[in-house]
């Protein structure tokens, strides 16, 4: 049933809710949905909100509408070949086609049928007139004789545009029930079951190639293209997802850009005019992003991440933060932080605290050390930094599940808000920063 559609798509990590259904209904009422390919396109426009959604969307769509489950690492061709839906369709198709066809071509034909949109049909039959006049039932009677396949062009055309959402739900439910009770029942969404846009054999035998306009090609491309199968946003920061992280960090740019009434100037010139105040304006534009990064570069635990982190903040510096200072420490901070990676030159915490309180501070470290290392003086230093710079966060490369097992981490977490060093974690860190004001 379609009412389970939002939930199904949500399970694939996509955003779908009751509005998705409402929009789908609106699209149906406006005549946008006439074929299964149209359903795909409309849902794609509504649900997919970034390129990395495409992979999950194709998966969810094939599973939901075609009962073709795609397992991780499986190609679309493979998944289709193994599916019952395809087997059922194939039997019917070969029967009608009456010749041997290779698997590859079969899959392509299948994809073409599945992704056939009303735009494709319009292109083939060129002319809205035929489309509008087309009456599926009548055509069926006239041309249902299989011995004259060349005349069957629109016989199995199903037009969803007249269906209400309820009716569509109804049909879906029937199909699904059948699927459950009678395995191998196939999907009525395709094939000769009545809903399919074209009976197979029809148009294709006529020599008109109604290749889906990229729909099928797109789907094939998507599954296996790393641009579409997203980098795991919860994976730890590495060179590949550094750009995703950067996008999150971008949230820290604060801009104030307004034309302001220049009070001083207005008064000055107003007095000159003998009390006639004609307003003077000045425009102000501040791009404010001042960042201090404190990196724990001591110990083996941090070694794998230091490079990615530096990479991230270097990119950040060149792109938008010119006030970016990087300091290093080992395990925790006592009375000083180091200005070079080898920790030979240092400045005192006192000096660090002299920075303007508008600076944002990123601590990056695993916060793991021997309990005695985190002594009173160190806790005091951390506290004073967090107190001075309200926008401080700690990014931890340790996987979240290990956090509860580290004693020192638990203490530091209490002092400074801590987030995982993943693109998603950085995003949340930035959000939490932005919710705090650097004033008071």
């Amino acid at each position: 049933m379609l009412s389970s559609l939002p939930e199904h798509f949500r399970n694939h990590g996509l955003k779908a809710d009751v509005r998705t259904l409402l929009l789908l209904r609106k699209a149906m009422q406006r005549g946008l949905v006439r074929t299964l390919g149209d359903v795909h396109n409309v849902l794609k426009g509504i649900i997919v909100k970034e390129p990395s959604d495409m992979g999950p969307f194709v998966k969810a769509y094939y599973a939901y509408f075609l009962h073709v489950p795609i397992r991780p690492g499986q190609t679309l061709e493979d998944a289709i070949l193994r599916s019952e839906t395809f087997q059922k369709w194939k039997t019917e198709f070969i029967e009608e086609a009456d010749r041997d066809i290779g698997d590859e071509e079969l899959v392509y034909t299948f994809l073409d049928e599945v992704h056939l949109t009303s735009y494709d049909i319009k292109e083939v039959i060129s002319g809205k007139e035929i489309w509008d006049k087309d009456d599926p039932d009548q055509e069926d009677e006239e041309h249902s004789n299989p011995s004259e396949p060349q005349e069957r062009t629109l016989d199995k055309m199903a037009d969803y545009s007249d269906l209400s959402l309820e009716e569509l739900l109804d049909r879906m439910e029937k199909v699904q029930k059948q699927q459950k009770t009678r395995h191998g029942g196939g999907s009525h969404w395709i094939g000769t079951g009545g809903i399919s846009p074209y009976g197979h054999g029809g148009a294709a035998k006529n020599g008109i190639r109604v290749g889906g306009q990229g729909g099928g090609k797109m789907a094939r491309k998507v599954l296996g293209d790393k641009n579409y199968f997203p980098i795991d946003r919860d994976a730890l920061l590495n060179d590949n997802n550094v750009d995703a992280a950067l996008a999150s960090v971008k949230g820290v740019i604060e801009e104030s850009a307004i034309e302001k009434l220049d009070v001083r100037q207005t008064i000055k010139s107003g007095l000159k005019r003998g009390g006639l105040f004609i307003p003077e304006l000045k425009s102000e534009k501040n791009e404010e992003l001042k960042v201090i990064v404190l990196i724990d570069n001591g110990g083996y635990s941090m070694a794998p991440y230091v490079r990615s982190v530096q990479n991230l903040f270097r990119k950040m510096k060149t792109r938008f933060a010119h006030d970016l200072e990087v300091y290093y420490f080992h395990n925790t901070i006592y009375d000083r932080v180091f200005t070079d990676e080898r920790r030979t030159k240092s400045i005192t915490i006192k000096k660090l605290l002299q920075h303007s309180k508008t600076y944002r501070v990123f601590f990056i470290g695993d916060a793991a050390m021997a309990p005695y290392e985190l002594n009173t003086s160190s806790i005091q230093s951390l506290k004073s930094i967090a107190a001075k710079f309200k926008k401080s966060v700690w990014l931890n490369p340790e996987p979240l599940r290990y956090w509860p097992h580290t004693y020192t981490l638990q203490i530091i977490k209490e002092l400074i808000p801590m987030f995982p060093l993943t693109p998603a974690g950085i995003e949340r860190a930035v959000q939490s920063m932005n919710s705090k004001s650097s004033e008071n």
Binding site: R30, N41, K122, A247, K250, G251
Partner: protein, 302 residues
């Protein structure tokens, strides 16, 4: 619902079928179309060519870091209003003293509030039936802008500040709204939810050949072929800033001034490659790679 016939591109603009369909869908549903994609894939060109081809009015709102909804819809120019009313007083005083010099308020009259309403592209587009409204590079906007915009767009009615003038448009005559983004900043989920989304893929060789043909119809086939080889080779190098459609078009424009044979040689010699490579690091990288291929494969690329 805007003008709802299916538009598939013009003789100057090659519209990807998927994009054409999304655009049609957005207009039919009366929703904005949000287009994302690499720079130089023709995001901004879509509404421009659509409006031109169909003879519709186009309103453009280039988004910048200062953008706010008031600029986009309409704002009341309080400052000008204050200035003009002060000038009225000043003029009256001068007249009393018998001075003839007057400060002008332009054509504006402080009595009529509508004179001080500065209409933005949205208000203008909504006051014309079936216009096209382009909101360009929304990712450059301050973070709250998209959500404010959403509120403005979800109503087909604007009330002008102070003057109270109402601009309203029927659903049938609503403008076709196209929003573009370069993905430099994540847009709020709620905002994306109200748009029809389309991501423009980078065109493959075949499509790119067609695009080039639309822009440079007279160019030699061989030249295009060689240029495309070099172009896609460069794109595969993983440069910091990969060359885009715009750049290859410029490069070929430069080449089209010479004879085809010469142009092929020039392209093979990577002449004018500065049109394709945009950063110093990329340039160094390309040079280094060329050096490497020189020593191993001889002058393959030269």
């Amino acid at each position: 619902m805007a003008e709802t016939t299916h538009w598939t591109g013009s003789n100057k603009y090659l519209c990807d079928p998927g994009l054409a369909q999304s655009f049609h869908m957005a207009r039919t549903l009366g929703m904005p179309l949000l287009i994302e994609g690499e720079p130089g894939t023709g995001k901004t060109d879509l509404p421009i060519h659509y409006a031109k081809d169909r003879g519709l009015d186009l309103e453009v709102y280039p988004v910048g870091s200062k953008s706010n909804v008031e600029q986009f819809v309409a704002r009341f120019d309080h400052v000008k209003y204050l200035r003009d009313s002060q000038i009225e007083i000043l003029n009256a005083q001068r007249e009393e003293k018998g001075l003839t010099t007057r400060l002008s308020t332009g054509e504006r009259n402080p009595e009529s509030l509508a004179d001080y309403v500065v209409k933005g592209p949205a208000a203008i587009a909504y006051s014309k039936p079936n216009s096209v409204l382009l909101i360009d590079e929304i990712d450059k906007a301050p973070r709250e802008f998209p959500n404010d915009l959403l509120y403005a767009l979800s109503h087909r009615k604007f009330i002008m500040p102070e003057s109270g003038e109402v601009i309203e448009i029927s659903e049938e005559e609503m403008p076709a709204i196209v929003i573009t983004s370069n993905r430099e900043q994540e847009l709020p989920t709620a905002f994306k939810g109200r748009c029809i989304y389309h991501y423009i893929d980078f065109p493959d060789k075949e499509v790119m050949g067609k695009i080039i043909e639309k822009h440079h119809p007279s160019i030699d086939e061989q030249v295009v072929k060689v240029a495309l080889d070099v172009f896609y080779h460069l794109r595969r190098l993983g440069l910091e800033r990969a060359p885009t459609t715009r750049e290859i078009l410029n490069w070929l424009k430069y080449m089209s001034e010479t004879s085809p044979k010469e142009a092929v040689n020039k392209i093979k010699g990577l002449e004018g490659i500065g049109a394709l490579i945009k950063t110093q690091t990329d340039m160094e990288r390309v040079n280094r790679m060329l050096g490497a291929s020189d020593s191993t494969f001889g002058a393959r690329l030269n």
